[in-house]
Symmetry: D2
Subunit: 338 residues, 4 copies
C-alpha cells in the first residue's frame, strides 16, 4: 500500500482521480486539498459519499509531503509553483497540468502566456504516455501527464508516423470534446442552456495542445508537416473524438493500417484497434481508460482518415495518471483501471 494525495480535488480531473484511487487495491488516499473550498469530500462530491471520510483542506506542504505520490490537478502555472517543493521533499509528482509537457520554456511562454518558473524540473520531467515512454516512466519522479487532445492524437498518429513519416504531406486534426474538458467553471458559456443542443469550433488553428502534439510526434520522426488543429465543443459531458486527415504521397490500404496498428499496440492494455470498416464511438470509451482507434482510406489510397476516441477525464487525464502511477510503483499497469 502506498499513500497518495490529490491537490485540486474540487475540479473534474481531481475528483475523477479520487474516484479511481478509492477503488485501487494498493493505494490509500491520505491527503486531498483544494483552494476554493474545504470540507468533507461528500460535500464536494456527493457521489463519493459512503466511500471515504477524507477531509479537504487548503494546500499544506507538510501534510502533502507525507504521501508517496501526489496528483496535481491544478491549473497551469499553479503546478510549477508547487511541484519543486514536493519533489524536494522526496514526493513523486504526477502533474495533470500543461506546465511540464513542452520541454522548453520559450515554447511554454508562447502558448501558455506565462514565464516558466521551474525550468530545472521542466527538463527532467517524463511525458506520461505509457504506450511510448513506459521505461522512462518507471524511473521518473515527475510525470507530465499528457493533455487530453494530445493523448488521442499521439496514440493515433505514432504508428503511421513511425512507418510512413516521410510520406506524410499534410496533417489535419478535427477534434471534438465534451464539456468537462473545459473544467468546472462558473461561466455563462459553459452553462447548460448554451451548450445543450449546440456545437461550435473554438480556438480555431490556435490551441495550446498543438505544440504538445507536434513535439511528441517529432520524437517519432523528423520532418513532419505542421499540424492544423481545430477543436470543437460537443454537447456531452465526457469524451473526445478526433478525426485525423493524413495526406500521403504513397498508397496504403485500410488493411495495411489495421495490421500496422494491431501489431504496434499488441501488448497494450488500453489501446483497442478497430477492425476494418468499424469506427470508434464515444460511448464505448466513456467511463474507461481505453483509446479506440479506427481507419479509412480513400479510393486512391493516399488520403488516410484515422479516428481516435478517449474519455477526456480518464485516458485523457486521471486514468492515465493512475496508469503512470502503476508503472512508477511497479503495480499491474491496469490495476484500478478496469
Amino acid at each position: 500500500m502506498i499513500k497518495a494525495g490529490i491537490i485540486g480535488i474540487s475540479g473534474y480531473s481531481g475528483g475523477k482521480a479520487l474516484e479511481i484511487l478509492l477503488k485501487h487495491p494498493h493505494v490509500r488516499v491520505t491527503y486531498v486539498s483544494a483552494n476554493n473550498t474545504t470540507g468533507r469530500i461528500d460535500t464536494i462530491w456527493p457521489h463519493l459519499a459512503g466511500k471515504t471520510r477524507l477531509f479537504c483542506g487548503k494546500f499544506d506542504l507538510e501534510k502533502a509531503a507525507k504521501c508517496d505520490v501526489i496528483f496535481l490537478a491544478v491549473p497551469h502555472t499553479v503546478s510549477m509553483s508547487i511541484t519543486p517543493k514536493l519533489l524536494a521533499k522526496g514526493v513523486k509528482v504526477i502533474d495533470l497540468s500543461g506546465d511540464y509537457r513542452l520541454g522548453r520554456s520559450d515554447v511554454y511562454k508562447k502558448w501558455y502566456k506565462a514565464a516558466h518558473k521551474d525550468t530545472a524540473n521542466l527538463r527532467k520531467s517524463v511525458y506520461g504516455l505509457p504506450e511510448l515512454y513506459r521505461e522512462d516512466i518507471k524511473k521518473a519522479n515527475l510525470i507530465a501527464n499528457p493533455g487530453c487532445y494530445p493523448t488521442a492524437a499521439v496514440l493515433a498518429l505514432t504508428p503511421i508516423a513511425s512507418v510512413y513519416g516521410k510520406n506524410i504531406q499534410s496533417l489535419i486534426i478535427d477534434a471534438k470534446s465534451g464539456a468537462s474538458g473545459a473544467g468546472r467553471k462558473a461561466t455563462v458559456n459553459l452553462s447548460f442552456c448554451e451548450v445543450d443542443e449546440n456545437f461550435k469550433a473554438y480556438k480555431v488553428l490556435n490551441h495550446q495542445h498543438v505544440p504538445e502534439i507536434e513535439l511528441y510526434l517529432s520524437k517519432v520522426t523528423a520532418g513532419l508537416p505542421n499540424i492544423h488543429f481545430v477543436p470543437h465543443l460537443l454537447p456531452v459531458k465526457h469524451g473526445i473524438l478526433e478525426t485525423i486527415y493524413i495526406q500521403l504521397d504513397k498508397k496504403v490500404t485500410a488493411k495495411d493500417l489495421e495490421t500496422l496498428y494491431k501489431r504496434f499496440y499488441k501488448i497494450e492494455p488500453f489501446v483497442r484497434v478497430k477492425s476494418s470498416g468499424l469506427q470508434p464511438e464515444l460511448k464505448d470509451v466513456v467511463g474507461t481508460n481505453y483509446c479506440d482507434i479506427g481507419f479509412a482510406v480513400d479510393a486512391k489510397g493516399t488520403m488516410v482518415v484515422i479516428t481516435s476516441a478517449i474519455d477526456n477525464l480518464i485516458k485523457g487525464a486521471a486514468g492515465q495518471a493512475v496508469q503512470n502511477m502503476n508503472i512508477m510503483f511497479d503495480f499491474e499497469e491496469n490495476e484500478g483501471l478496469l
Copy 2:
C-alpha cells in the same frame, strides 16, 4: 404600429420577447437595454443577426419613455424601482418579474425577502393571465405577467376548482422545468456538466410561486386546501410539465373532465385540451405559446391527475407578455404568436 421597449434584453426572457416582437406586424421595437452589457444586439444574441440593428445601452428613462409599452425582463426588486417611473411617464408596463403578482406587500416580503417599495401600483396591477383576466387586461396600464409555474398550474386547475372546488381534499403539484427557467447565470450549478444527464428536486415545498398559485386559485373558489409544490430541474433547455394530483371526495371520470375543460377553454387560442388517454409532451409546446392539458382518473374515480405543459419562456414568460400586449392594444390576440 406601436413602439415597444425591452429592459433586461440580455436575459432569456428579454431575448425571447425581442425575438417574438421582431416578427410582430404591428410593433416596432425602438428601445432595448441591459445592465450588465451594452452593444449591438447581435453581439448579445447572435441568432438575431440580420433581423435588427438595435443597440443595447444602459437603462435610460427618457429614452424608454418614448415607447408605448415596456417589457420589464429584470430581476424582482429591480422591477418595482423602475415601474412607477415608467407609469408616471404614461408608458404601459408589462412586468415579467414577481414584483406585482402577489397583491399584498406582506406576502411579497415573506416570499421574496424584500420590502415592497411600490405598494400603490401593487394594488392597481392586473394579473396577466388572459384566459382568466382578459377584460381587466384590456384596460390595464400595469400587467403583472404570471410566473412560469403558476401559468401551467392555474390554467390546469381553474376549471376543476371552479366546478369541484368544494370537493378538493388535497392538491399536490409535482413540477419539472428546463434549465432556462433559472435564468442566464454564471454558476457551476447550472453548468452543462452538472445539469446534463441529471435530475433533482429543489426548493422542496418552499418555492415562491406557491403563494401566487394559491392566490389566483382562491379567486376562483374559496376554501381550497394548501398546495404542496415540488419543483425539479430537467436536463432540457425549455419547457415545464406539471403533474398535478387532486384528491376529490366525489367521483368523476376522465371524460367528465375532458368535457369540462374543452368547454371552459373552447374559445381560447392558446390552451389545447387533450382527448382522453393522451398526455401532453414538452416537445409539442416548446417553441409555442400553447398550454397543453391532459387528464387521468384512478379506478375509484376520486384521484385526478392533470398534466399541464408549456414553454417556460413563451407561454410562461415572453409569449404571454406579448399576448397581454395584443389584448391591451386591441390587436388580434394571437398576432406574432403562431
Copy 3:
C-alpha cells in the same frame, strides 16, 4: 470462483450484468446467450472489447446448466418458460423480469396480461431486495429481482411505513426514469429525436409496478392506502428519481425522519440517507449501486416528501442482481459493486 451465465445478453440489463461480473473477483462468466443475435461479445457490446472472449449463441439449456447461477435478463413470460428447467438442473436463478415478483398468479395475469405457467416456483421465489430479505436470499434458489421503480419506492417507504404505517392517509409516487428503462428497442417513440429535449407522463395511474410496490409494503404494515403512481420519461440514459408524497395524520419533522432512516439503513452498504435539507440527484447514483434518499416536511408537519434515486440498470436491475448473487454465494455483499 463460481461460474455464472447471462441469458438475454443483448439487452441493457444483460449487458450491464456482464459488465459488472467481468470485474468480479470470484465469478467467471462462462455462458451468455441472446435470441435475436449471435456473435462475439464485442460485436454486441463494443465497449467490452478487450475484456472478454465470450461468444453469444442462441439459448442452449445444456450449456447454461453448467453454470452455478444464471441471470435471466429476458422479457417477462420468457423467464417463466426457462426458469423451471434451470432450477431442475440445480442451477440457481436470478430473474430480472417481472415473472416471479407478484406472488399470486391472478395478480400476475391482471397486470402482465398473461397466464402464469410456473406457479410452483412463483410461491418459492424470494424477492431480491437485500435490505429487507437478506436472510431469505441466502437460502434461495430462485430470486425475483425487484423492478426498477419498486426498488426506489420500497426502500424509500419501508422505514416510514414500519413506524408511521397507521398514520399514512395517502401515498403518491411521481416517478421519473431515463430511457434505458424502456429497454433496447427499435421504436420511433424511443428514438433520439422523440426523447431528447422532451418529457412526458405515461401509463398514468396504470403501471405494472404498482402491485409490486403495494405487495412488499403490505408485508411491512397492513392497511396502507392505495398507491397513486405516475411514471415519466426523462431525457437521460440512466437513472430513476421518485418524488413521494405521504399525507400523515400525525406531525413529524424532517429530523425525525432523518434519524429514523439513518438508523434503519445504518449497516446497509448501498443505501445513503441524505442529511436534512439535501436532496438526492441522479448524477450521484448513476453508475453506482446506491439508493440515495432525502426528505422534506411541510410547515404543518403532516405532508412528507421523500425523494429516492437509483441507477435503473444497476440498483434497479443488474447491480442488485449481483448483490443478490453475492449474498447467495456468501461473498462480500459489495464485491464487484464499488
Copy 4:
C-alpha cells in the same frame, strides 16, 4: 393564395414543411399524404394541433394534382416514380429527395444504388440553391432541393472557389449532423440510449452527398481537387456544422475572406457571414433558415478553415424548399421564413 400539397407528411422534412407553410400568408395547404399512416394531422404531429384540420391519406394523384405546387418529402426512388405524373398534370414539384440532384443517371446509380427511371426530367430539373440559381428557379417546374450537407458545403465553398479555384490544393469537409438528418426511423442505432452522450463518424469518405457537392462546385470552377468528406452523428436533434479545410498555394488573410464573402452574399437574405474571429454556432441557426459562415487562416496564410452551420431540416430541407417556392411564385423570398 396558392394551393400547396406535401407528400410524405409523416417524416421530419414533410412535417417541418407543413409547419412552415401553415404560417405562410400566401399559401393554403390543401393536400397531405403519407404511406405508412393516415389520420388527422394532430395524431401524426401533436404540436400542430389547433393550427390545421387537414387529414392525411394515402397518396392519391388526382387529389394531389389539384395543387399548384407539391413538396415531395419521400425517400429517394419513390420521388422519381411520382414526379413525372405530377409534372404531367401541370403541378410544379419541389423534390426534397436526392433523385433529381445529380444530373446524370450513371452517377445516380453509383451513389444511390438504383437505376434512374425518369432521366427526361433529370435533365430539366433545377438545383434549388437560391443563392446560386435564383434565375433558373424562377422558371422551373421541377426543383431538386439540395441535400443538407451540400447546402452548407456549397454555400461555404462557392465564393472561395470562384476566386481562388486554381489555388485550391486539397479540400476536406469534416461534417457533423444532428439525428433528425437520419429521418424518423425505428432503429436501435437511432434510439436515445445509443445517440445521447455519444458521437461517431459514419460512411467515412463514402457519403452519397459527395458527388452532389463536387458537381455544383465544378460549375463554379473547373479543376478542383476531389473532396474528402467525413460525416459524424451529433447528439442534438437539429443542425449541421461543417468544418472545411482548404489548402491553398497562395496566401490569404481571414480579412480577405471576410470581405470576399460579405460582398458575395451581400444581398442574400439567408446567408450571414461572421466577422473575423467569430465562429458560427448551431444554436444560432437551429430553428431558422440561415446559413452562418465563419473563417480562420493559419499563420502561413495558406490553410483556410471555413465553418458553415445550418438547420438541417430548414435551410437544409423544408425551409429552402419554401424559399424556392417563394421564388417560383414570385412571393417575397423570405415570406414565411423569418
